[in-house]
Amino acid sequence: MNTYLLEIGLEEMPAQMILPAVQQLKSLVQKTCEKHQLSFKELRTFSSPRRLAVQIQGLPEKQEDRSVELKGPPAAIAKDKDNNWSKAALGFASKNGVDPADLEFREYEGKDYLFVQRMELGQAVPELLQAQLEQWILQLNFPKNMRWGSYRMRFIRPIRWIVSLWNNTVVPLKLEMVDAGNETRGHRFLSSGKSLLKDAADYQVQLEQLNVMPDYEKRRESIVSQIRKLEQEFGFEVELDEKLLQEVTNLVEWPTVLLGDFEEEFLELPSEVLVTSMAVHQRYFPVFRKDEKLGAAAKTLLPHFITVRNGDGKWLDTVRRGNAKVLRARLSDARFFYLDDQKKLLDEFRQKADNVVFFQQRGTQGQRVQRIADLSVFIACKMKLNESQQKHVRRIAELSKFDLETQLVQEFPELQGLMGENYAMLKNEDAVVCRGIRQHYYPRHAKDFLPEDEESVPAALADKLDLLTTAFSLNMIPSGAADPYALRRTAQGITQLILGLRLPLDLRELTSAAVRLLDDQQDLSLERTKLQNDLLDFLHQRQRWFLQERGIRYDLIDAVLKTPAGIQSPQEKTATPALAIEQLGFAEFLSEHLETDMFKRSVEAIVRAGNISSKYADKIADELDESAMELTEEKNFLAALKPILNSDSQSLWSPDNYLQQLRKIEPVVTRFFEDVMVMDEDPIKCGNRLWLCLQLAQWSKRHLDLQSIVFA
């Protein structure tokens, strides 16, 4: 059996692009093998900052010979008038290099055609691969390509060498800047210059001798086990953030883990500042005191860091000292900002926001904060928060963005909110206000926390609603993949807040207020209704997403979302629309009852009542004429309808009551349709019966649109 190896040698690739690139290479190779029916035992990929490689093991010498069936011209033109092969037939045979005697007729889609079986000899595999190599390389896609030197080619980083080996012979490939060969490069410092690769099969072993671990998993494992060893030795705990681990693994070819220290005095800084300095800026792993009881957030930092060197275990002290020095410089900088920021009053930062433009033509950040504050108070009233809570709500909103003007957040933008909380605490703001400054950003993504305090919720909603409204007012409505201001996530956040916290808020009131505040403040003369409908439509899609995530069936989602709150149409204006949480409540409750026989029969009966009453809308009685009711079925129907007729025709029933009512009325209505001729000749009787159907259908439709439900 044979092995083929392709190694693309590059200057250091961006860490996060390495794994996707080698994955692409793998699938290109797989496609080639499928297309050419090439069998192999194993397809392995290797990658490091300086190389992307693929190794195909267990390849045959040549492709299997195979018989191919070729379709020719239709039988009708295959023979001439003397029953000899026609020109068309002979042409087909000679084009494919077969003897005309082997031609045969066969049916294809109802017509006869000429066919022939031809043996195709398998190609030698190295030749076959050689023809593909260049395409594998050229077809790799990267988010950002570059040129270098005087070459025309564009690639992720400059290509410096190519190894292309069939066992121990080179499979040639010529690129503009380099010819493929059998020379690789080892570790940049631990080995020197070019090294001969003797055999494609020994790639990994040979590279490891050159101090390169080309197997990503092995490199990762090596880092993890070295860190675990340090943990045991020193009794601390290291948090292995998967993303950081992946990045670090892709920054080194020969990992050596080392432990460094920083001065204990820096532990006075907020721990997020320390973690960000280490993990984000320096790619270090932070070290925590071992404590099994505490969650990750509550763990105590220790004045150490762990870094991964691209090299061996020699001279580690120098490397450690250097890294400690850099970290010390960063932390002193952070401390300088932290202390300096504290010298100012919170309101001074707020005033700075008056000079910062939020969106062109939509005022300053200061004005935006004003809108958030007004909208927050509006929402707080709707949430029926008491007066002292409302005071907190306003304060949270007013302080929601001040920290963006602090030096520390400008240096560490990822700490927005957190630093706001920290600084506000130092200025003795109420604890709930401080938490609110942090929590108003929640949820930042689909799996994020929701605010814990009620008081944080209005600002959390208002912040997102205002961003969405402002962007939409500038016609920045996301379409396709482009969504530079993350508006989908913003709208999703609103949905998560309302549905996740079960807030009895009406999105129409909220959007209306947000639009009004923006329009009035900036004096824009916006087309308010259109803007509001765009917003509702967008939020509606996110609501659908939320329900899907909850595992609610599609047809049930349609059924609840098609109720009046979903789409605003003038006819339905009279009915009070269902709130988003009521729709959620119905969807969740009915999910459990959807497949019961009773529910199925109810759907049938109500859909039928709805259909017939809308079909003969002109025949419906304006009022019920009880004197004309003779049949028991009619009377039973009316009796069962009483709770509906007696209730407020605008209000919604709880899902539970709705279902109980269905349970009561379903047998009566089913019976009614079985035994009563609705379209009686007597217009009064007919009008009466249609009236009963209409009342039932309208009542049900307020809650959900049963016509959307599909039974298997």
Partner: protein, 297 residues
């Protein structure tokens, strides 16, 4: 200095800092303009670089109003450019086996120049000591061939070599500390930028410089026009550091400088073309370039 010797031995011309204020070695026309067009260009020079926003009154151990860069341009970028760079560290006395040297992705962009490139920060034991960039576009013009730019942070490397924590503790030459030379100007420039500068006057300067750059451009005078762009750029940096420019206005000012830079880049290429790209060794190639770039030909 060892870097001069090293790069000179590899065929780089040694140049001097520019005499108009620049924010970085990249802004020196020896880089900004010369990386445009097909002519070979290999130079090295020190550039005192003014960053008003980084002024810290001489109190911060790492940040300076004015720091020094060592700038190398290799055009076209040679195939072994990374090895050449690493050997320059060895020339400085940094043995890669004793340290951890890494190439960490860093993409460079200069909106005022209409320029971008791809490359790395080079980390020496976790400290960024060099910016390594392959210029892709400058002044809105695609770079062909591509230049490699190496920008060494001199203070950083020196503080590493001398093993000091604070840049002001560096020994500039035997017995003379960095502090004794630079602390006063650092303090005064910071004070001037943040407290004293007459921003109204500076706004006026910006407009005047911009206008004069435009006039020079109209007369097809590339280098004088570019000098005024540098002045615009520095004035803008001063105003920005003083907090006199709001975010939206900021984008507009950057746009004005970029506009000038792009016109200058275009004009530079045209003028070099008219001269027949005299710095190209391969005269046939030069003629081809001229043909390709001359309109109606």
């Amino acid at each position: 200095m060892q870097l001069n010797e090293y790069w000179h031995s590899l065929g780089c011309m040694l140049m001097n800092p520019y005499d108009v204020e620049t924010g970085a070695g990249t802004m020196n026309p020896m880089t900004t303009l010369r990386v445009i067009g097909p002519e070979e260009w290999n130079v090295a020079y020190v550039e005192p670089s003014r960053r008003p926003a980084d002024g810290r009154y001489g109190e911060n151990p790492n940040r300076l109003y004015q720091h020094h860069q060592y700038q190398v341009i290799l055009k076209p970028s040679p195939d072994n450019v990374e090895e050449l760079y690493l050997a320059s560290l060895v020339a400085l006395g940094i043995d890669p086996l004793q340290h951890d040297i890494r190439f960490v992705e860093d993409n460079w962009e200069a909106p005022t120049l209409g320029a971008w490139g791809l490359g790395w920060e080079i980390w020496l034991d976790g400290m960024e000591v060099t910016q390594f960039t392959y210029f892709q576009q400058v002044g809105g013009i695609a770079c062909q061939p591509v230049s490699a730019e190496l920008t060494y942070g001199i203070e950083r490397i020196a503080s590493y070599l001398q093993d000091v924590e604070d840049v002001f503790d560096l020994e500039y030459t035997k017995g003379v500390s960095y502090s004794s030379i630079f602390r006063q100007p650092e303090f005064e420039h910071s004070k001037y930028t943040f407290e004293v500068a007459d921003t109204e006057l500076m706004f006026r300067w910006f407009n005047d410089y911009e206008q004069e750059a435009g006039r020079a451009l109209a007369e097809k005078l590339v280098f004088p026009a570019y000098d005024y762009v540098l002045k615009c750029s520095h004035t803008f940096n001063q105003l920005d550091a003083a907090g006199a420019i709001s975010v939206s206005a900021r984008a507009a000012y950057i746009g004005r400088v970029r506009n000038l830079s792009q016109n200058i880049a275009k004009l530079f290429l045209e003028e070099r073309c008219k001269l027949g790209f005299p710095l190209m060794n391969d005269r046939d190639a030069a003629r081809k370039w001229v043909e390709e770039l001359t309109p109606d030909n």
